[in-house]
């Protein structure tokens, strides 16, 4: 029964994630912590497996469209994986309340950012298509590597701390500061998430913070959900889905705060 529930939860998170561009990891860890009684650190470690699954599946699609800059991604991964591994170690010394507080703060911050942008999570860029139906990417040369590496270190650190992908940090940095076309920035960020999450997941796993019995059904659900979400995304008004996501995020943030203050789930 628990297994079925976890597959459904993963499916739902993967579906929302693929339709909105915000990874499922943001939802999975607080739900595991609040509704399944899993300590937040184990919840974060467990949902990292689902984050890797999503990244691997979606980035193989981007790669086949040739929109991923593997060299840029690999370079920035030096910073994201270092940041992720370091914070994953540090998390071992954090107590539960600090993690729950940070997570609640992150959910609140993300929700407000999305609302201020009027429900838009990413800037849409219309891809140019040539006569053969292939996407055309204008020539570019990534710039300001030090800035990109610094931001990647931060994004990786956040990923190792909270078990999230960190796309909302990397994509704007590559696009605005590094002069990378948006489509390439999105694909490359997605490409980097798997390695970044693996860098911290390995540390979580060694510490015993990945609960295999929960991770497997979640990953199975997330895999199916993101496959379906990617197909549905072009046909559905994502704006309403985004507001649904924000509502869930705000609910989880509030619930985490209550949990912190009272020491028990509301």
């Amino acid at each position: 029964m628990l297994t079925v529930l976890l597959v459904l939860l993963g499916f739902f998170a993967g579906l929302l994630g693929a339709m909105t561009g915000i990874g499922g990891g943001v939802l999975l860890s607080p739900i595991l912590a609040l509704h399944f009684g899993i300590p937040i650190r184990e919840a974060i470690g467990t949902s990292l497996v689902a984050v890797i699954t999503t990244s691997a599946a979606s980035s193989s699609v981007h790669l086949q469209r040739h929109t991923t800059d593997i060299r840029l991604g690999m370079t920035l991964e030096l910073a994201t994986s270092l940041g992720a591994a370091v914070t994953a170690y540090l998390v071992g010394y954090f107590n539960r309340n600090v993690l729950e507080g940070l997570f609640a703060g992150f959910l609140l911050y993300s929700s407000i950012t999305i609302l201020l942008r009027g429900g838009k999570i990413r800037n849409e860029e219309v891809a140019e298509v040539n006569g053969d139906g292939e996407t055309v990417i204008p020539p570019y040369e990534p710039q300001r590597y030090p800035l990109g590496l610094g931001a990647s270190l931060f994004a990786g650190g956040l990923s190792g701390l909270l078990g999230i992908g960190g796309g909302p940090i990397k994509v704007p940095v590559m696009y605005i500061f590094m002069n990378v076309p948006l489509m390439v920035a999105t694909a490359t960020s997605n490409f980097m998430i798997g390695v970044t999450a693996a860098a911290s997941a390995i540390v979580y796993y060694r510490r015993g913070d990945i609960l295999v019995g929960l991770a497997a059904p979640l990953a199975v659900g997330v895999f199916l959900g993101s496959l379906l979400g990617a197909r549905l995304a072009p046909r559905i008004h994502t704006k309403y889905v985004v507001y649904l996501l924000v509502a869930i995020m705000l609910y989880l943030a509030g619930h985490l705060f209550v949990h912190l203050l009272t020491g028990k789930a509301a």
Partner: protein
């Protein structure tokens, strides 16, 4: 110069990720289904294998890309790839913060 457009390179890396994602999906699914009918440690072991393979997929992806760079005599990005690999493996070797 754009750094994109190396179709063969992209295809190989995509293949690694695809095999990892689909492979792990089916392995974990097999473990889950078996768990419904079999009461032993075997389904749990299968699920664990799926999870570990999932953790290994990005590591293999970095290794494969690194080897491809070296074969192209692209020493700079070959070195960067093996740097990333080193960071990933350090996490597997040193279990600081264990309890």
């Amino acid at each position: 110069m754009s750094q994109l457009r190396e179709p063969a390179f992209d295809r190989v890396v995509a293949l690694v990720l695809r095999v990892g994602a689909f492979g792990c999906f089916f392995i974990m699914l097999a473990g889950l289904l078996m768990g419904l009918f079999v009461d032993s440690h075997v389904p749990g072991d299968i699920e664990r294998a799926g999870v570990l393979l999932m953790l290994a997929t990005p590591v293999v992806r970095v290794l494969v890309a690194g080897v491809l760079f070296l074969r192209e005599k692209d020493w700079k990005y070959g070195a960067i790839s093996f740097g990333v690999l080193a960071i990933l493996l350090l996490g597997a070797v040193f279990g600081i913060g264990e309890h």
